[in-house]
C-alpha cells in the first residue's frame, strides 16, 4: 500500500512539473503588468485582470491572427479528412500494381525534412501566385496547400488501419441491397471510420495550427494574413518584452488545441494503437 502511495506521489509530482509552464503562462496572462515586472514573482495573483487579453486581441490584432490560424487549420482538417479517406479506401479495398510502391512512398514522405522544402516551395508559391490568385505569397491559401500536403501522408497511413478494420461483408451486403458505390462510400464506410478521422484530424490540426516556419516564409509583406505562431514572434523582442501580452497570446493559441485534444483523447489513443499496430 505504501509503495502505491509513493508511486502516486511521484506521478503527481511529475504532473505538477509538466503542467507548471502552462499554469505559469495562464497566470502571467492574468497578472497585472506591475506584478509581472515585480522582482518577487508569486505563484498566484490576487488581482486577476483581462487587460493583456484585451490588448492582445485589440491593439495587437491577435483576433485577426487567431481567425487566420483557425481558417487555415480547419480547412486543412476538412480537406485532409476527405482526401485521405478516399486514398485509404483505394489502398485497402483494391489490389493494383503500384499499391505497395505508393504505400512505401507515403511512409517515406513522412521522413522528408519538410523544413528544407521551404526553399523550393517559396519560389513555387511565388510563381504560382502570378498565375493563380489566392495561393501565392502572402495568402492563406498557400499555407492551406502546403499544410495539406504535409499532413496527407500520415493521415492516409493512419486511416488505412481504420478502413481495414471495417468488415468487407458490410459493403457486400449493401451492394446486394442495391446500394451504389457512392452510397457505400459516403453513407456506410465514412461514418464507420469516423473515430479514425477524429484521430487523424487532431494530427492535421496540430500540424497546421503550430506551423511557424512556413507562415514566416510565405507571409512576408501582408501582415494581416499572418497566423498566430509567426505573429507572436513579432511581439517577442529580446530587449523589451511585453510578457503579459505574449503570455495572453500564447494562452489564446494553446486553448483550441487543448480543447481539441481533450475531446478526442480516447480516440487519439486508439488511433495511435491502430497506427503503430503492436
Amino acid at each position: 500500500m505504501t509503495r502505491r502511495r509513493i508511486a502516486d506521489a511521484a506521478a503527481i509530482a511529475v504532473a505538477v512539473v509538466t503542467v507548471f509552464p502552462i499554469y505559469w503562462m495562464v497566470l502571467s496572462a492574468l497578472k497585472p503588468t506591475g506584478e509581472i515586472r515585480s522582482a518577487d514573482p508569486r505563484p498566484w495573483t490576487l488581482h486577476p485582470t483581462l487587460e493583456h487579453f484585451s490588448s492582445a486581441l485589440g491593439v495587437s490584432g491577435f483576433g485577426r491572427y487567431f481567425l487566420n490560424s483557425a481558417v487555415v487549420a480547419l480547412t486543412v482538417v476538412a480537406l485532409s479528412a476527405l482526401i485521405s479517406f478516399l486514398a485509404a479506401v483505394a489502398l485497402t479495398r483494391y489490389r493494383f500494381r503500384t499499391r505497395t510502391t505508393l504505400l512505401v512512398l507515403f511512409l517515406v514522405a513522412q521522413m522528408v525534412p519538410v523544413e528544407a522544402l521551404s526553399i523550393p516551395l517559396f519560389f513555387q508559391i511565388r510563381d504560382l501566385g502570378r498565375t493563380v490568385p489566392g495561393v501565392g505569397l502572402n495568402t492563406l491559401g498557400s499555407l492551406v496547400l502546403v499544410q495539406l500536403a504535409f499532413s496527407l501522408p500520415f493521415a492516409i497511413w493512419m486511416l488505412r488501419g481504420f478502413v481495414a478494420a471495417v468488415p468487407q461483408e458490410i459493403e457486400e451486403a449493401a451492394t446486394l441491397d442495391g446500394a451504389g458505390r457512392f452510397t457505400i462510400l459516403w453513407r456506410i464506410l465514412f461514418p464507420l471510420v469516423a473515430p479514425g478521422l477524429a484521430a487523424t484530424g487532431v494530427f492535421s490540426f496540430i500540424t497546421a495550427w503550430n506551423d511557424f516556419l512556413f507562415a514566416r516564409t510565405f507571409i512576408i509583406s501582408t501582415t494581416e494574413n499572418q497566423t498566430l505562431p509567426a505573429a507572436l514572434l513579432v511581439f517577442f523582442k529580446p530587449d523589451e518584452n511585453d510578457w503579459g501580452g505574449i503570455m495572453a497570446a500564447s494562452t489564446l493559441m494553446t486553448i483550441p488545441v487543448l480543447v481539441f485534444f481533450v475531446f478526442v483523447r480516447h480516440r487519439l489513443v486508439s488511433g495511435l494503437g491502430g497506427a503503430v499496430k503492436d
Binding site: P21, D40, I83, A87, V112, P113, A116, F123, E172, L228
Partner: protein, 298 residues
C-alpha cells in the same frame, strides 16, 4: 463470382479515389523535393532570384563548399549530439512514466495523463516563449527562485542547448509515454501480475518482461523520435534568437534556413537540405526494416 470480386475488377476506381491525394502531393511535395535536388546543384542567389543573372550550374560545387566549411561540420555535429540527447532523454522519461502509469491509482493516472496532454497540445511556439519567460534573465521565475540574479541561460552554448532540449523533451515525452502505455496495456495482465507477485521492481519488470514483448513498438517510437528531434526548428529558432550568439546554437534545419533566406544563398541552403534528407532517409530504411519485423503487411 462474389460481389467484392466484381468491385475489384473495376480497375479505374482506385485511380479516381487516389486522384485528389496525388493532385496535392505531386505538385506540393514530390515536385518541390525534385526542385530541392536541382537547386542544390546551382549557384542561386539574389541576382538569380531577381532575374538579373541566369542560374549557374555548379554541379557538386555547393556540396564541396559546404564540406570545406568548418562551420558545417560543427553544425552537423551539434545537430547529431543535440538530437541524440533529446531522443535518449525523451525515451527514458517516456518509458519510465509509461511503467509508472501502470502502477498508480486511477486518480494519479488521470492527473498525469492530463498534464502530459497539456504539454503535448502546447504548440512548439507557445512552449518556446513560455520556457524563455521562465528562464528570462531579468523577470524569469527560475532566476528569482534560485537567486541567480541576471544569469543568462542562453549565453553558454551547452546550457542553451540543454534548455532547448528540455523544451523538446517536454513536448515529446507524452507521445512516447502514451504509446508505450497503450502497448503495455496490451501485454496480458497475468504476465505483469506474476512479475509483481515475484517482487520485481518497476525497472526489472520493464527491462526483462515488458521491453522484450514491446520491442517492435519501442523500435518504432525510437526511430520516430530520431526523425522528430533531428528536425527541430521552432524551439531553437525562437529560444536562442535565430541560432544563438554568433550562431553557436545552430542545427542543420536553422542553418539551411539562414543560408537560404537570410543570406540569399538558396543553392547552398538546398544542399544542406539534401544532406538532411539523405541522413533521414537512412533512418527511414531502418524504420522500414523495423516495421517489416513487426509483421506489418505493406
Amino acid at each position: 463470382m462474389t460481389v467484392s470480386a466484381t468491385i475489384r475488377r473495376q480497375r479505374l476506381t482506385p485511380l479516381w479515389l487516389l486522384l485528389p491525394a496525388l493532385a496535392v502531393l505531386v505538385p506540393m511535395f514530390a515536385y518541390p523535393l525534385y526542385q530541392l535536388g536541382l537547386l542544390s546543384l546551382f549557384e542561386y542567389g539574389q541576382p538569380q532570384v531577381s532575374g538579373g543573372e541566369p542560374a549557374r550550374f555548379v554541379g557538386v560545387g555547393n556540396f564541396r563548399a559546404l564540406f570545406d566549411d568548418p562551420t558545417f561540420w560543427t553544425v552537423l555535429g551539434q545537430t547529431v549530439v543535440f538530437a541524440a540527447g533529446c531522443v535518449v532523454v525523451t525515451l527514458a522519461v517516456g518509458a519510465a512514466l509509461a511503467v509508472l502509469l501502470t502502477r498508480i491509482g486511477p486518480l494519479a493516472r488521470a492527473v498525469l495523463s492530463f498534464a502530459a496532454l497539456t504539454a503535448w497540445a502546447a504548440p512548439a511556439m507557445t512552449g518556446s516563449v513560455v520556457w524563455a519567460f521562465l528562464f528570462d534573465s531579468n523577470l524569469g521565475l527560475v532566476n528569482e527562485v534560485l537567486g541567480l540574479g541576471g544569469y543568462n541561460w542562453f549565453y553558454d552554448r551547452s546550457v542553451a542547448f540543454a534548455l532547448v532540449g528540455a523544451v523538446v523533451v517536454w513536448h515529446s515525452f507524452p507521445f512516447v509515454m502514451i504509446t508505450l502505455y497503450a502497448g503495455i496495456q496490451a501485454v496480458p495482465t497475468s504476465v505483469r501480475e506474476a512479475a509483481a507477485l515475484d517482487g520485481a521492481s518497476a525497472l526489472t519488470t520493464f527491462r526483462r518482461i515488458i521491453a522484450p514483448i514491446l520491442r517492435p513498438l519501442i523500435i518504432i517510437v525510437v526511430i520516430q523520435s530520431i526523425i522528430w528531434d533531428f528536425k527541430v526548428f521552432t524551439q531553437i529558432y525562437v529560444m536562442t534568437g535565430c541560432g544563438g550568439i554568433a550562431g553557436q546554437n545552430l542545427v542543420l534545419n536553422v542553418y539551411a534556413y539562414q543560408k537560404a533566406f537570410a543570406s540569399s544563398q538558396y543553392g547552398l541552403g538546398s544542399a544542406i537540405g539534401i544532406v538532411m534528407t539523405v541522413i533521414l532517409l537512412v533512418v527511414t530504411l531502418l524504420y522500414l526494416r523495423a516495421l517489416r519485423r513487426t509483421g506489418e503487411a505493406l
